[in-house]
Amino acid sequence: MLSPYVMRQSLPQRRASTNLIVLELGPTARVTVALLLMVALQTTLVRLPYFGFVFEHVDFILILTVFVGVQPRALRAALVGMTGGLLQDLVWGVLYGASGFTKMLIGYALAVVSVKFSLDSKVTRLLVLPLCSVVNTGLFAFFLYFFSMLPPGTTFRDVVRVGMFALLGNGLAGLALFPLGDRWLGKWIAVRSTDEPLAPRAF
């Protein structure tokens, strides 16, 4: 059995090549870049003519949180969810902390459950994503309602409608984005079987 030290050493280290500019980023930097990219994409794809409205119901940060959360690394998943959610809250500017709270809770809960049940298979995570999407929408709407920030005239039916669209949108987006995530983040995020599932280090 390889020791954790040897296994960490076997991962590609950060380096720059002089032949072709290739900068291999560490997992923290990759996740940070992914978070910023997701937030930027979320605000620009909605402006596509004819199809932009579809992206209103796709939550890229939630998809990233689920992607990270299906690995049994609780602190990492919680921090990714919290950071991404807070970035979203800052962009929206309506209720700081609401998205951070919901996504942190979802990331942490997923990671804890994934200790007992393997959630990181390609099929399972596609089933988990819609469920998390409904929870995310419900919790977020609850916080808006709790702090009287819900748009006037919003009914429970509107919340259900938004939740259903989010379930569909996120599920379909996950089909495309999870394979991309596997390529960009996969080997950095995947947890080795010899590591402790709830080790205190973030990455």
Partner: protein, 301 residues
Amino acid sequence: MLSLPSPLQKLDPARRIALLVAGLLLAQFFLMSLHARARALGQSVPRVALLTVLQPLQKASDAVITTVVAAWKGYVDLRGVYATNQRLQAENDRLRLLLVEREREALDGQRLRELLALKQSAPAPTVVANVIGGDGTPWFRQILLDKGSLDGVLVNAPVVTPQGLVGRVVAVGPNVAVVQTIADGQAGVGATLAVSRVNGELRGQNQPLCRLDNVSGLTDVSEGEMVLTSGLDGVYPKGLIIGMVETVERGSGAGLHRIQVRPAVPLERLEEVAVLPPTIRVTVSDLLRPSPATKSPAKSK
């Protein structure tokens, strides 16, 4: 290296993480409480800092999307180009005539202001900005502009296009601004019906149509009637085009009409907007105040 307090050291890593997560969740709940109490819609240092950092990314991705869309429209979607061209030429001719009339009215207004000796604070110039993003969520209707305070954009500045009113600036950074459109569920605009001259309150619904509230059931409102800003909210200048009445559910004598308004501006397809200076505060000069009694030349001798 910092060491944990001894009670925490006795816990296993899983419990420590659970405590940390619980603490962070609680902190975020307090953050929500504080922000909800402050009710600050947009302008905050962290938000402005993040938007400033994101602006180049958004501008780059928006440029890519715009290029792809332009290629599609330019080389693939050629149907109706001639008809659109003809329609636009006719509209252009009509607008040119209107412009001449407006310029004449503006000159009259300028002359009247000079006569009344009204003092105005120096108005900021109108800023033309590109829309580089939306909020990407069904709960709100905000857009992002690629101009900010360095270009003269101010908070609460009205945002318009040639078709009509878009909304107002709610947050501004050095190179980015956030605009709450009139379709946002938390937006409100003082409105006037163009024909009946009755005032109401326009409310966004996070939908394509807005709602015009507080219009008496006794008022005669017809579909297709234009809705303008009333200027009574102190944010939007009077007379800007908001949209047209789409549907009217007529109220009884004691009740109110339920009016749906379609914005004149296609808020989902905005490209360029103009940011006006915030509503100008006008002060009346001392000449118009009652002056103290002056001695007549005969008495002074």
